[in-house]
Amino acid sequence: MHFESFEAFLQMGKHGAYVWSAYGISFVLVGLNVALAVRAQRQAKEDVKRFARREMADANKS
C-alpha cells in the first residue's frame, strides 16, 4: 500500500480532489450507461412477451 493511512489515501497529497472527481464522474457515466442498457433490455423482453400474448389472444379469438 503506497499510502501510510487511509486519510493520506483520500488526500493523495493535495491531488485527491482531482483524482476522485475524475473517477467519480467516470463511474457515474458508466453506471448510468449500464443502467440504461439493462432497462432497455428488460423493456424489450417485456415487448416480446406482450406481443406473444397478444398473438395468442388473436389466435384463440379467430
Binding site: 500500500m1 503506497h2 499510502f3 489515501f9 493523495m12 497529497g13 493535495k14 491531488h15 485527491g16 482531482y18 483524482v19 472527481s21 475524475a22 473517477y23 464522474i25 467516470s26 457515466l29 458508466v30 448510468l32 450507461n33 449500464v34 440504461l36 442498457a37 439493462v38 432497455a40 433490455q41 424489450a44 423482453k45 415487448d47 416480446v48 412477451k49 406481443f51 406473444a52 398473438e55
Partner: protein
Amino acid sequence: MWQTLTRWYHQWGSPRYFFQYSGVLLPWLWPLAVLTLVVGVVWGLAFAPADYQQGNSYRIIFIHVPAASAALLGYIAMGVAGLVGLVWRMKMADIMIKAIAPFGAVLAAIALITGAIWGKPTWGTYWVWDARLTSMLLMLFLYLGVFALMNAIPDPRQAGRAASLLSVVGVINVVIVKYSVEWWQSLHQGSTLKVVGESAMPSEMLAPLLISMLGIYLFFACTVLMRARTEIMVRERKSQWLREVLR
C-alpha cells in the same frame, strides 16, 4: 484455419445463434470484466508509486488512457462492422453498430473529462488545445454524429445501414483527423510537455494500466453484447425462436 473463420462468421452472423451464445457467455463475462477493472483501478490508485514530477495526479491515467483507447477501438470496430454490413448486407453488422455507439460515446466523454481534470494540476487550466484532447473531442463529435443519424431515421434497418456508411467514412477520417491535429499542434505551440510517455513508464505503473485497459475492454464487450441482444429482441420480436428462448 479459413474454414473455421467462415464458419464462425456465418454462425455469429445469424441473430439467433448470436443471441443464444451471447446468453451463455454473458454470465461469465460480466464478473470477469468487473473484477479485472476493479483490480486494475485499485492497484493503480492505491498501490502504484507516485510520479516524481506530478505526485499523485497522474493516477487519473488509469481511467483516462483505457477510456481513450477503448473509444478509438470502438469506433474502428464500428467502421469494420459498417463495412461488413454494407458489403455483405449482414443483419448482425447493423445491430453491432447500434450496440457499440452508446458506450463508445460515453468512453470518449470520460476520456475527455478525465483528461481535462488531469490538465488542471499539470498545466494549470482545465482545457488546453493539446493534440490528444482535441482529437478526443473530435472523436466524441464523430460518435454523436452516428448517434444523431441513427435517431433521425425512423426505420431501424435503414438507420442501421446509414450508420454503417457513416462509420466507414468516419473511420477513414479518424486517422486523417488524428494526424492533422498532431501537425496542427506542432504548427502552433511546438511540442508541449508530454503528459506521461506510456513506454517510459516504470513497470509498477505499467502493470495496473494494462490491467485496467483489459478491464475496460471486457466491460465494453459486455455492454456491446447486452445491447446487441436487446436490439435483436426489438427486431425479431415476432419470430418464433425468440419466444421459445425467452419462455
